[in-house]
Amino acid sequence: MNAIRNIFKRTGRTLLTVTGISLSIGLAICIFSLSAGIDLSIHTILEESGVDVYVVSRGVPVFLQDLSKPLIESRAISRSLLKNPGIKAAGPRLVDSIYMTGHGPDDFREINAEGKLGLKESKIYHSIGRGRVPEMDGNFGGESLVKGEYLPTRGDPFYQNGTYQGGANSSLFTHEIVLDVYLAELLDVGVGDRVLAAKNPPQSEEEILDWSNNRTIHFEVVGILRESYEGSDMPSCVLHLSEMQYLMGLTHFDKATKIFVEVEAGTDVNDISDWIEEESAFGAELSAYSSEELESDLLDFTDVMRSFGGMITIITTFVSIIFVATIVVISIKERTGEIGILKAIGISSRSVVFLFFTETMVICLLGYLLGLLLGVLGVHIVDYMVISSYDSLPPGLVITKITPGVLGKVTVFAFLISILGGVVPSYLITRVPPITAMRRV
């Protein structure tokens, strides 16, 4: 109680010191929770995807696969991978750009302001098409169905052993497509509606009618989904692999961008990854990346931010230590006479140190608690700022996250401030002999 009374005797300096410590703690929480939020997002999005191993063309980094040449014989590779009992599912994927419209050819017969036949404004949108074979997919997730169903034809009948016979008019061409919520909104369509898709957009407005009549393939929207890993700037759709291949003009050699692999529970993912590259039938042509490797590679990108945030926190903590240490030294020096009297009446040095230690600890504890509040407030501000600045963030992205790890790190920093800034100076100064101290009364 004596310590607390002493603290409130000098309210001005106490308040300023507590504010300084709390700002330092609050800043540390914001910085650490930002790193933790992004790391958690990466981990969660990868985990939700359900993909254990990503298989791409030999030597190509998984992130850059979409810019490189596709895999050939993707179904044969996928089937060969299933020979390993540790692999539960292997699903080929072809990812490429598709231009789409939710309007039929008749909708384009508008006379625009200049009296020309065409559109008053662009109603053709770029999207990311994802070709898949539903029955070959494992429990790959990261997507939640909002309406309708997910490609009701489970197989890929149009493929017909690579013949793609009859083209888009074939009775085996399912014309099924699932849109993500952003694309459905852009195209202004719902389940059961018809959309037109093509590899290339028309070159000019004059070409729109020809484009919509002759260069597109129609699809029926069977479902609408939400992807946790893509934002609104990447509208996308899912269709059968062979239909995507046909749309892209890639009907030779069963091309795909990558193969997603799901391993059996209890199987070592890294062993499977090594097996694919070294022992599988097509291993010489493949590179396999485990989800752990991918996570580690993604964390490399955030490592700069983490190191930089850590540097800011360390420097700020150092300033706080100088702050607290100087104030403690000044406060104790003001009370040297008091220390002398206390020692002269027989109170041990340890008790005197304890008295000042308690005072410092109370100030640091108040700063820590206020810092936690400021940190929580700061985290909300950071969240708000990022979300309001970027309207196309993926729904699965967590900006900030106050984890036990974040609190642990912040507590260590608070502990450092209190020990180095408070306790050490208290201990050194209160070791003054009673006679010397009494002379200052």
């Binding site: 300096r13 300084g20 979409d66 810019l67 662009s122 070159q203 800011i312 702050f323 104030i327």
Partner: protein, 483 residues
């Protein structure tokens, strides 16, 4: 102030650290801005047309570029480009053998004669090495991690060391078109990368495009300095580009400086940049024809445009861009100022975050100053009381305390410039090493220093009001009573 040197030194130290941190942090966003501004000022790329997608999504690229040049009264030059990933492989020439040695090239194993030949050329080949025939005139020896190629040239057997492939970012250009966009220093900024050319292509046109991609194949490539230095090519080495399955022999005709160092995060994904003739890159990556039908498609990634000299005014360029948007509604048409605004928008949030973090750190330092001044006022209450008693005004007391605080802050802020410079330099080096680039990431300018020091002083003055007001409001009687 000199009576209490210890506390004043600590105060100046805290302000100095906070200021240097602020300067170092803000030098990052300053660097972003100055790079952005420099890219706008240099080169004559006024407008860029790109595909909405992320691949080579503009079909009939040459046709569009030529129609822009021929039909428009606005455009001086238009150059189509393609960007893609490729493998650059090289076979380091080691030595040659008489064709008779073919009889020793037996599938599955290496014999003693071959091991001896390698020994004579200062190379070790183990008897466990595996030899395999690749095609009629090519064999491969795999010895642990070493791979050797033996190529029959018709007159002799050339032995090469097969090194690992380099994944590179390949840019396909029509040299005579792109050359128009080079600055006086032979530099160009493409896809966000500044490139400074030491040499240029020998063939100005793009002959392979003729006769539906059946024209002459030049095989000319320019590679980035870091790649050239990493490989260290010598006479006789053979270079190929392409994927695992389709490769074409190429010749290095020159090099260029680029920001890539080949290490760091970027180096993990691609090791350098390569430039080649547009049609040759298109053929390698399958952007030349429709895969199914073989019909010429000429797909490209972007077209850079330089407007006529008399139309270089920003508003004229905006007008031309608007026309292009109407003509090509399904492509993205960006002027330099659009690109600038885009980068500014992207860096805005980083700017706010860095400024906020720096300000919080600064506020801690300034709170320290305020706290020390509060203590000083507390310790000098009697002195202030005496001063007030002999007729010194409240305003003078206020000015004295405020001035003392101002001096501490100003000295700390000015001294903080020096560690701020080193901090900015360190951050630049740190980020360059992490990302694998060689460029000035941060910018330590006079404007930045002045802005930061003024910022520290202005905020510092706000914090100095509290102790100064406290001192000036002391009652004479109460102050005189203090010990």
């Amino acid at each position: 102030m000199l009576k209490r040197p210890g506390r004043n030194i600590m105060t100046i130290l805290a302000v100095m650290i906070s200021t240097s941190l602020l300067i170092s942090i803000l030098s990052i966003t300053e660097g972003m801005r100055s790079r952005n501004a420099a890219s706008i000022e240099t080169g004559n790329q006024d407008i860029i047309i790109t595909a909405m997608g992320y691949k080579e999504d503009i079909p009939h690229g040459r046709e569009i570029a030529e129609s822009l040049e021929n039909d428009s009264v606005n455009v001086s030059f238009a150059s189509p480009m393609l960007v893609s990933l490729l493998f650059l492989r090289y076979k380091e020439y080691l030595f040659s053998l008489d064709p008779e040695y073919q009889k020793h090239l037996i599938d599955g194993t290496v014999n003693d004669t071959l091991i001896k030949v390698f020994e004579n050329n200062s190379l070790t080949l183990s008897n466990k090495a595996n030899l395999s025939k690749i095609d009629g005139g090519c064999w491969e020896i795999v010895d642990k991690t070493n791979r050797y190629r033996i190529q029959y040239t018709g007159t002799e057997l050339n032995i090469y060391y097969s090194d690992k492939p380099y994944l590179v970012m390949a840019i396909g250009v029509i040299p005579e078109k792109t050359e128009q966009f080079l600055s006086e220093e032979k530099a160009i900024r493409l896809f966000g990368l500044e490139m400074q050319f030491n040499e240029w292509f020998e063939t100005p046109g793009d002959p392979h495009f003729n006769d539906s991609y059946k024209g002459g194949y030049t095989g000319e490539i320019l590679i980035s300095d870091n790649l050239f230095e990493g490989i260290g090519p010598k006479k006789g080495d053979v270079f190929t580009v392409g994927s695992e399955n389709s490769q074409e022999n190429v010749t290095i005709t020159g090099t260029f400086g680029s920001p890539l160092s080949g290490g760091g995060i970027f180096g993990k994904y691609f090791q350098g940049i390569l430039m080649m003739h547009l049609s040759e890159l298109q053929s390698l990556v399958g952007a030349h024809v429709v895969s199914d039908t073989g019909k010429v498609e000429d797909r490209i990634s972007s077209i850079i445009i330089s407007v006529r000299d008399e139309k270089k005014d920003a508003s004229e360029i905006d007008g031309i861009a608007m026309e292009l948007r109407n003509d090509y509604p399904f492509y993205s048409v960006l002027t330099k100022s659009d690109q600038f605004a885009r980068v500014e928008q992207r860096s805005e949030i980083a700017d706010i975050f860095y400024t906020s973090a720096g300000t919080v750190s600064l506020v801690i330092g300034l709170l320290f100053v305020a706290c020390i001044m509060v203590i000083n006022v507390y310790e000098r209450q009697k002195e202030i009381g005496v001063m007030r008693a002999i007729g010194i005004s409240k305003k003078t007391i206020f000015t004295q305390v405020f001035g003392e605080s101002f001096v501490l802050i100003a000295v700390g802020a000015c001294v903080g410039i020096i560690p701020g410079y080193f901090g900015s330099d360190y951050i630049s080096d740190f980020m360059c090493a992490k990302y694998g680039v060689e460029m000035e990431i941060t910018s330590f300018s006079l404007a930045l220093v002045v802005r930061c020091v003024l910022y520290v002083i202005v905020i510092g003055c706000l914090f100095s009001f509290y102790p100064a007001i406290k001192a000036s409001r002391l009652e004479i009687i109460d102050a005189m009573k203090k010990p």
